[in-house]
Symmetry: C2
Subunit: 343 residues, 2 copies
Amino acid sequence: MGERKIRNMEEFAEVSGISRPTVSKYFHDPSSVRKSTRGKIEAALEEYAYRPNFYAVNQNRKLTKTIGVVVPNLADPFFAEIARNIERRCMEAGYAPTLFGSHGEPELEVEILDNLRLLKPAGVLIAPLGRVTDRKALEAFCRDVPTVLFDSNIEGLGDFFVGSDNYSFVDQTVTYLCRSGQPPCFFEMKNPANPNANKRRLAYIDKMAELGHEPQFVQIEGEGWGFEEIGRQGGLWAIENRILPCDTVLCSNDRLAIGFLSACYEKGLRVGSGAGCALRVASHDDHPYSRFTCPSLTTAAHDYDSVSGQSIEALMRAIDSEARGASREEVLYPAKLIMRASA
Amino acid sequence: MGERKIRNMEEFAEVSGISRPTVSKYFHDPSSVRKSTRGKIEAALEEYAYRPNFYAVNQNRKLTKTIGVVVPNLADPFFAEIARNIERRCMEAGYAPTLFGSHGEPELEVEILDNLRLLKPAGVLIAPLGRVTDRKALEAFCRDVPTVLFDSNIEGLGDFFVGSDNYSFVDQTVTYLCRSGQPPCFFEMKNPANPNANKRRLAYIDKMAELGHEPQFVQIEGEGWGFEEIGRQGGLWAIENRILPCDTVLCSNDRLAIGFLSACYEKGLRVGSGAGCALRVASHDDHPYSRFTCPSLTTAAHDYDSVSGQSIEALMRAIDSEARGASREEVLYPAKLIMRASA
DNA sequence: TCCAAAAGTTTACGCGAGTAAAATTTTAGT
DNA sequence: ACTAAAATTTTACTCGCGTAAACTTTTGGA
C-alpha cells in the first residue's frame, strides 16, 4: 500500500479511475454515487489513505462542518463533563467539535468568538460567562452564526437556551432540608462570578417564604472562579466567628460546598444528619467529586444528558432552519435530588 | 464604521489605499512594512474590522500557526490544569492552540492524530494514553509533525519528552513517611490505565529496599479512568476485609487517594498523623482537589509550570530546527513534597 | 541634491477543491 | 433490445490568498 504519494484530489481521482468531480461528490456524500463507483473509490482509499485538504474544502464553503463549543472554564469538572458529553454527540451527528475555554476572562471570550467566526462554524454552543459577558459582542456573533446558549442564560441572545431550572434545584434541597430538620441558611459568595448564583439566591428566598421561614444568609468574600478555596476560607471565617445562624447550611453550588466541608473537617465540625453531627450541609450541581467528599454531599443534580442532548438537538434545528432569529425558545430541566451522607 | 462590507483582501486593500501584496505582507508580519503604510492599514482595520480568510490563508502554507494539544482526558483536573497552562503559553508565543481529549480511547487518539494531520499544525503536544496507545500510528505521526510528548513517555517517540520524575515522587513520599512513622504500603490498581503507575510501583520497591523495608502492596480491581470510584471501592474492600498491612498508605496517585479517603471516612477510620488517628495516607500528583480532601492530602507535587513551560520551549525548538529526529531528549522534573494533614 | 537601497505596486500564476454546463456513458424498465 | 433517466466525464471557471518578478516610488545618508 502507498506506492505513490497522493498530493491532491486530481491524483487520487487518477489512481482510483474516477473523474475528480465524481470523487468530490463522493466525499461530500458517499451515497450520492453509484455503488460500483463507490467501490472503486473506497478500494483506492484503502490503498492510499488520501483525505481532501481541509483548508481547500472549507475555503469556498459558506459553512463548515465544525461546531464551536465554548465554556467558561475547562478546568471545572462540571463544564469538562458537559463539554465531553456535547463533544461526543457532535461527532455522532457528523460534525467536528472544537473546544474553547474562556478561563473566566470576558476579553478572552470575545477573542474566542472572533476566532470562531473565521472558522465559519455550522453552529456554536456556548455557556457564557454571564454577568461579565460582552453582550454586544455576543449579540453580533449570534446574528451571524446559529448559536445555542446553555447553562447560563443571557436574556434574548442566541436561538435557544438550554439550562437547568435553578428554582427546581433550590426547591428540592430546601424542601428536603426543612422536612428533615432545621431550615437551612444559604451559603454563597457576596459577588458571585457565575450567573446562576443570583437565581438560586432568589429561589431560596421564595421557597423559604413559601414554607414560612425567614431566609438567612452567610455571604462570603472572594473573587474569581476558585470556588473551593473561596468556600474553604469563607467556611473557616464563618466557623471561627460563629456566624452560622443555624445547624443546616445550603451552599449555592457544590464547589463552594467542597471547600466548606473541608473547613468543617479542619475545625472538627462533624457534618451529617446522624447523631453527634454538628451540621448538615447540602448543595447544588452534583459535581463529579461530590460523591467523594467527606461526608459525601447531598445535592441537586443536573440532568447532564438532557441538557447536552437538547442543546445539540436545538442547535441542529437552528442550523437547518433558514429563518433563524424568528423565535427564541428556552428549555429548563428540573433537578434531581441526590441524597447522600451530608444531610 | 463599517459603511461597506469587506469580502476579501482585495477589497480591503482598496479601502486602505494599499496594494494587496503589501497588505498580505502586513498580515504576515506587521513590522515588515513601512510605518506609514502600517498606519494606513491599521486605520482601515479600525473602520472595517477585516480579517483574512482563515482557510485561504492556510491552504497554501505548508505549516499553519496552530498547535495541537492532546491529553487523555480533559475531564481530569490534572490534565485540564496542564492543558490550560500550555494553552496560555501557546497563545503568548503567537500560536493558536487546539485542544483534544482522547477520553481514554486508543481509537479516538488515533482519529485525533489523523484529523490533526489535516490541520497542518506547526507542532503538537501530546500526553499519550500510554500502554494502549497505538505505537505505529503515533510513530508515523511524529515523523510528519514536530511532536513533544509530555506526562507519559513512549520510548523513542517524539522529538522530546517532558515529564515528571516518578522516582523523585516516590522517593520523597516514602522517605518522609518512613522518617515520620511506619513504612507505607502501596495502594494501587492491579491493572492501571495510566503509564506512570508502573514506574511509581518500581520506584516504591526500590526505595523501600534502600531503606531496609519490605514492600507491601494493596492491589485493587477496576478498569478505566474513573480512579476516584475505583479507589473508593478498593478502599472499602480493603478496610472491610482488613487487608491493609500497616497504618500508613501511599496511594499511586491523588485521584485514587481521593476515593480511598472517602472510603476511610465512610468506615469511620480517622486519617492523619495526630493522636487518635488510625491511618496515615499520602499520594502523588498534587491534584487540584487534594488540598480540599478531608483531611487535606499530603502529596508529591508536579512542577506544573516547569513541565508546561519546558514542553512549549522544546516544541518551539523542534519547530525551528530543520533537522528533526536527529536527537531525542528527555527531561524529568523532580517532585516537591506538599505536607498536609493526612500524613 | 543625488543616488542606492528599501519599500510598494502591477501583473500574473498557483494552490486544492467546489461546482455549473454540456457531452457522454451506464443503468434500469418495458 | 430499445429508450428514457440517471450517473459520470469533460471542460472550465471560481474562491481568497501567497508569492514571484519586474517595475516604480519613497526613503535616508553622504
